[in-house]
C-alpha cells in the first residue's frame, strides 16, 4: 500500500513537471524558480535541523563499544572499535561513514526447529548495496560539476575518465550510472520482497527510493537517448553559480522533469529520514570515546539530586546498627 502510494506520488511529481512544461509553458517556473527555492529549502532546512540537534546537549557519554577497551597495557586494545580519544573517534567515524563498518557486521538469523539450532549467517548484501549506492551517488554528484563550473575542474575530468573506463556506448556509459541504478533496484526489491522489510517499511521509505530511481532514469534518458545539448545546459547551470539563472534553450521536457525531481528530493531531505546523512555525525553512541572512567564527562543540566544520605540511613537503622555492633558516626 505504502509502496504503491509512493510510486503514484513520484509519478505524479514527474507528470506534473512534464505537463507544466509541455502544456503549460511554465519553463521558467520549473527550470529556474523551483530549483532555486528547493536549494534554499535544502540548505536552510539542513542547517536548522543540525542546529536543533546541536542545541540538545549530550548529558552522558554513552558509546556503544564494539571491541576491547583500553585498560591494562599488555591487553591488546581495539582502538577503532573502542576509541580511547578524539583521534580514534575520528577513525571510528571515518570507518562508519566511508565504509559502513557497522553494516559490515550484519548477520541473518535462521531458526531450525527440527534440529533445534539457531544460526547466524554473515550477510554482506545490504552493506554492499548500500555502500555501492552511496558512493555511486557521490561520484554522480561530483560529475555534475562539469555543468556548474567552467572550465571543468581537473578532478571532475579525472573522475569521468575513470568512471567511463570501459568506453562502452556513445556517449560513454559511466560505471556509476549502472551501479547507482542497480543498487537502488536491489534496495527497492529487498524492501518489496523481504516480508520483514515490507512489514517495517513506511511510505516514505519507498518514496525516497522511487524518487532517486526516477532522478537516475531521467538523467539516463537525457544522456543516452535524447542526447541533449549539454552546452546549453552548462550555460544555464553556470548562470546558477553566478546567481544569474537563465533558462536553457533546446532541451526537452525530460530536462525539466529531472530538475523537478531533484528539487523534490532537496525539499524532502531536511524533513525526512534522509537526515541520516548529517545525523550519523551527531550520533552519541558512535562519536564519543570510550574513556568514561579516565576522563570526566560533564552534564550541563545535571540535576541537584541527593540520595538517601548516610546520616539518614544511620538514623533510620540506629538500633539495629547498635545491636549488630557497628561503629556509628553519631552515638
Amino acid at each position: 500500500m505504502g509502496a504503491l502510494l509512493s510510486l503514484i506520488a513520484v509519478a505524479a511529481l514527474a507528470g506534473l513537471a512534464w505537463v507544466a512544461v509541455a502544456v503549460g509553458d511554465l519553463r521558467y517556473l520549473v527550470g529556474v524558480v523551483l530549483p532555486g527555492v528547493a536549494f534554499a529549502v535544502f540548505i536552510i532546512g539542513i542547517v536548522a535541523r543540525v542546529v536543533r540537534w546541536a542545541r540538545s546537549p549530550v548529558p552522558f557519554r554513552i558509546p556503544t563499544v564494539s571491541g576491547q577497551q583500553k585498560s591494562l597495557s599488555w591487553i591488546h586494545h581495539q582502538e577503532l572499535e573502542s576509541p580511547s580519544g578524539a583521534l580514534s573517534v575520528i577513525g571510528r567515524m571515518l570507518l562508519e561513514v566511508l565504509c559502513f563498518r557497522s553494516l559490515f557486521r550484519n548477520t541473518r538469523v535462521e531458526v531450525d526447529p527440527a534440529r533445534e539450532k539457531v544460526s547466524y549467517i554473515g550477510t554482506k548484501t545490504l552493506w554492499a548495496a548500500g555502500l555501492a549506492f552511496h558512493w555511486a551517488m557521490l561520484v554522480i554528484i561530483l560529475r555534475h560539476f562539469r555543468f556548474l563550473v567552467e572550465p571543468t575542474p581537473r578532478f571532475v575530468e579525472w573522475i569521468q575518465s575513470v568512471d567511463g573506463f570501459f568506453q562502452i556506448g556513445v556517449p560513454v556509459i559511466y560505471a556509476t550510472t549502472v551501479v547507482f541504478l542497480a543498487a537502488l533496484a536491489f534496495l527497492l526489491a529487498r524492501r518489496l520482497l523481504d516480508a520483514k522489510l515490507r512489514y517495517i517499511s513506511l511510505p516514505s521509505d519507498y518514496f525516497a527510493l522511487y524518487l532517486l530511481l526516477a532522478i537516475g532514469l531521467s538523467g539516463v534518458v537525457m544522456r543516452h537517448f535524447q542526447k541533449i545539448d549539454i552546452v546549453d545546459v552548462k550555460a544555464a547551470m553556470a548562470g546558477w553559480t553566478s546567481f544569474q539563472p537563465v533558462l536553457p534553450q533546446g532541451v526537452g521536457a525530460m530536462y525539466f522533469v529531472h530538475v523537478a525531481l531533484v528539487s523534490a528530493l532537496l525539499v524532502y531531505f531536511p524533513f525526512s529520514k534522509l537526515l541520516h546523512a548529517p545525523g550519523v555525525f551527531l550520533s552519541p553512541t558512535r562519536n564519543l570515546a570510550n574513556n568514561n572512567r579516565a576522563k570526566r564527562h560533564v552534564n550541563p543540566w545535571n540535576p541537584p539530586i541527593v540520595g538517601h544520605t548516610y546520616a539518614e540511613w544511620e538514623e533510620e537503622f540506629h538500633d539495629q546498627l547498635v545491636a549488630a555492633g557497628y561503629t556509628l558516626d553519631k552515638e
Partner: protein, 537 residues
Amino acid sequence: MAEKTPQELIQIDLAPPKTDWMDPSVDFEARRGTWSYPGGAKSLRYMNFPNPREWSPTDGDWQLPDNWREIILDGFRERLTKYRSFQVFMDICVRCGACADKCHFFIGSGDPKNMPVLRAELLRSIYRRDLTAFGKVLGKMAGGRELTPQVLKEWYYYFYQCTECRRCSVYCPYGIDTADVTMMARELMNLVGLNINWVMEPVANCQRTGNHLGIQPHTFKDNVEFLCDELEEATGVKITPQINRKGAEILFIIPSADYFADPGIFTFMGYLMLFEHLGLDYTLSAYASEGGNFGLFTSHDTIKRLNYKIYHEAKRLGVKWILGGECGHMWRVMHQYMDTMNGPADFLEQPKSPYTGTVFSNAASTKMVHICEFTSDLLKHDRLKLDKSRNDKWRVTFHDSCNPARAMGLLEEPRYVLRNVCNHFYEMPENTIREHTFCCAGGAGLGNDENMEMRLRGGLPRGNALKFVRDAHGVNLMTCICAIDRATLVPLADYWAPGVGIAGVHELVGNALIMPGENERTTNLRNEPIAEEAADV
C-alpha cells in the same frame, strides 16, 4: 513456570503477520507469561513517584491521570531538548532492517514488534504525528500514529520487553541505541505511573536500605558472617571481612545478590579469598551495600539518586579508591554515568594496585576499578598462588554480559582470568560472544517469574549457543560477570542446555587459590568434591 517444552517453544515463525503494525493491540490476558506485574503502590509512594495505585495490565481501565496525554507529550518534548541521543534517534532511522533479527526477544518469539526498529517506531510514530510539522499535516502517510490508551498499553508491553542489552546498536549503521529509546519510554511511562514491580520494589528497597533486596544492616552482617562460615568449612580458612571501616584503602562494592543467593554467594567467597590471599586493606559497606542500580531501568534521575551513596560512602570512609565486583548493569552505571552524575571524585586517588604497582589510568577520573581488571593484573604479574586443577571438573565457557561488553569493552580481562584459573576453557560461537553477545533475557527488571515464558524465549540464542558447546566440548559450566546473569541463566540453562551450571568468574578464582593455612582441599566452594576430573573430548 514454562509449560511448553523446548521443542515446542522453538517452533518460531519469524515471518511477520499480514496485519499492519500500526494497529496497537495487546491482549494481556492471552499473553500471560510474557509480561511483568506492575509496580506496587507502596514502592511508588516511598519513592514519591506519580500515580501510585493497585492495578493490573489486564484491567480495561489503567487508572491514568486525566491529562495523561499532555503529561506524556510534554515529557517527550522536554527529553528531546535534554538528550541529543533521543532527538537524533527519533529523526534518522532509515528502517534498513539491519537490527531486525539481532534482538533475542525477536529471535525467540517472532513477534515483529520485538524488532528493535519497530520497538523504536512505537515512540517515533507518536513523535512524528504530534511533534513534527510533516507528521501533523500528513498523519499516517508520514508514519504517524495518534497517542491512544492502546498505544500506551503497547508501550508498556514492549518497553518492558526490552532488556536494554544494546546488541542492536552494534549493528545499526548510525548506532541507534534501543536501550536509550527504551530508557526514554520508561521515563515517560513513569510520569503517569506505568512501571513494573520487579524494578520498583528493588528501587524502593535500595533507596531505603542501600540494596535492592532490602537487606538491613544487621542481616547484611549476618549474611556475610554466614558465608564466611561456609567458606571456612570448604577451605579451612577463617576470614573476617571488615564492614563500614574508616581509613581502609579500598571500598569494595558488589551487587547484593552476591551475598544473598546461590550461585552468587560462591562468587562472593571467591572475592573474599582473593583479598585474604593478598592481605588487601579493604572494607565492605552495609550502607553502600548495592552496586547494582535499578534506577537504570526507571529514569536518569533515579539512577543518580541511587548511585549517590557510592561516592558519598567512599568519602565518609576516607578510602583511596573503589573496587567493584562482578555485575553487568552496575558497571554500565559506574562506567558511563557515575562520574558525570555524582562526581567529580576528587577526594579519591587514582587507583593503584598495592601488589603490582600498576596504576589504573583507565579509571583515573572515576577511581573505580573492575575486579577482573584488578585480578588479571595480579595474574599477569604472577602474584597469586594457584592450583588450576581444582577446577578440572569444570569444562568452562564464558558468557559476556551485555553491559561489560558493549558499554565498557571488558572482553579480554575475564578471559585472561579464566584461562589462568582453569584448564578447560571453550568459547561459544563467535556471533554470540564479545560485542555480539546475547542477553540472558532477564535484565532491565524482566528477570521475574511471571515473565518466564518471555525470558526463556529471549534466552533461546544464548541457550542454543550454550547447548552447542555443551555437545561439542562437554561444557558443564557457564561463567559470567553479572549478578542478574547468575540468577537468570540458571533456569535458562536448565531449559535450553540442561546439565550446565552457572558461576561467577571469581568463584573459579576462589577454587584455584592456594590459601595460607588452608586444609587439604577436597571440595570446591559449592562443597562438591573437586576430584572428578573431566575427561578430554
